[in-house]
C-alpha cells in the first residue's frame, strides 16, 4: 500500500503570513491523484485542493497552492495570506487505483495554528 508521510505534526503561522505544509509519498505507480483535506474542530472533512500526477502544472485554489514534485514524490501545500479560519488539521492523501476501490490513503496530519 502506498504510504503518505507528513513530517510536521504541528505548524504555526501568523495571520496574513504564508505557511507551507510538507507531504511526501511512496508509490510505484505512474498515474495517481493527490489531495489535501482540511479538518477544522467541527470534525468536517473539507477538500482543499487536488492534483493529477500527469499534470505538470501545480494546482491552485485561491490562497491555496501546491508544489508538486513528481520525481521527488513530494506534494506540499502553501497557504498564502493565512486567516484565523485556516486553523485546522490538514491531511495529505494519495488516491489508490481500482484494486483498492480508489480509496484515499491519508498521512497522519499537520495541525495548523494561526495566531493573530
Amino acid at each position: 500500500a502506498q504510504t503518505v508521510t507528513q513530517s510536521q505534526p504541528e505548524m504555526s503561522v501568523q495571520e496574513a503570513e504564508t505557511v507551507t505544509l510538507s507531504c511526501t509519498y511512496d508509490t510505484s505507480e505512474s498515474d495517481y491523484y493527490l489531495f489535501w483535506y482540511k479538518q477544522p474542530p467541527s470534525r468536517q472533512m473539507i477538500l482543499v485542493i487536488r492534483q493529477e500526477a500527469y499534470k505538470q502544472q501545480n494546482a491552485t485554489e485561491n490562497r491555496f497552492s501546491v508544489n508538486f514534485q513528481k520525481a521527488a514524490k513530494s506534494f506540499s501545500l502553501k497557504i498564502s495570506d493565512s486567516q484565523l479560519g485556516d486553523a485546522a488539521m490538514y491531511f495529505c492523501a494519495y488516491r489508490s487505483g481500482p484494486g483498492t476501490g480508489y480509496a484515499l490513503n491519508f498521512g497522519k496530519g499537520t495541525s495548523l495554528l494561526v495566531t493573530p
Binding site: Y33, F35, L47, R50, F91, G101, Y102
Partner: protein, 113 residues
C-alpha cells in the same frame, strides 16, 4: 441539501453491545467508504464498496460488517463492541475516476464504556 449524511452523530454504548451506523449519499456516486479516525486523528480506510460490491476490506475485525442495500446507502454494523472501537467513524462517497474527490459525512463519534 446534505450530500453525505450519517447517523447518529454520537453513540455511547457499553462493551459487548451491538450497534449500527447508517450512511446515505444523494450525490449519485457509485463508490462508498468507511473510515476510522483514531484518537491521534489518523484516518484509516476500513471498507470500500462499488455498486454494492465490496472492493476493499482492510484488516478489519470480522465484528465489523458493512451492508450496502443500494448504491446510495452503506451501513456499518459492529458486533460485540470493545473499548478499542472507540473512535470517529466517517462515511464517504465518490465517483470512480481518480481525480474525483471523496465527499465525507460529518462523522459518528463512538464511545464504548
Amino acid at each position: 441539501d446534505t450530500a453525505v449524511s450519517q447517523t447518529p452523530k454520537y453513540l455511547v454504548t457499553q462493551m459487548g453491545n451491538d450497534k449500527s451506523i447508517k450512511c446515505e449519499q444523494n450525490l449519485g456516486h457509485d463508490t462508498m467508504y468507511w473510515y476510522k479516525q483514531d484518537s491521534k486523528k489518523f484516518l484509516k480506510i476500513m471498507f470500500s464498496y462499488n455498486n454494492k460490491e465490496l472492493i476493499i476490506n482492510e484488516t478489519v475485525p470480522n465484528r465489523f460488517s458493512p451492508k450496502s442495500p443500494d448504491k446510495a446507502h452503506l451501513n456499518l454494523h459492529i458486533n460485540s463492541l470493545e473499548l478499542g472501537d472507540s473512535a470517529v467513524y466517517f462515511c464517504a462517497s465518490s465517483q470512480r475516476p481518480g481525480n474525483s474527490p471523496l465527499h465525507f459525512g460529518n462523522g459518528t463519534r463512538l464511545t464504548v464504556t
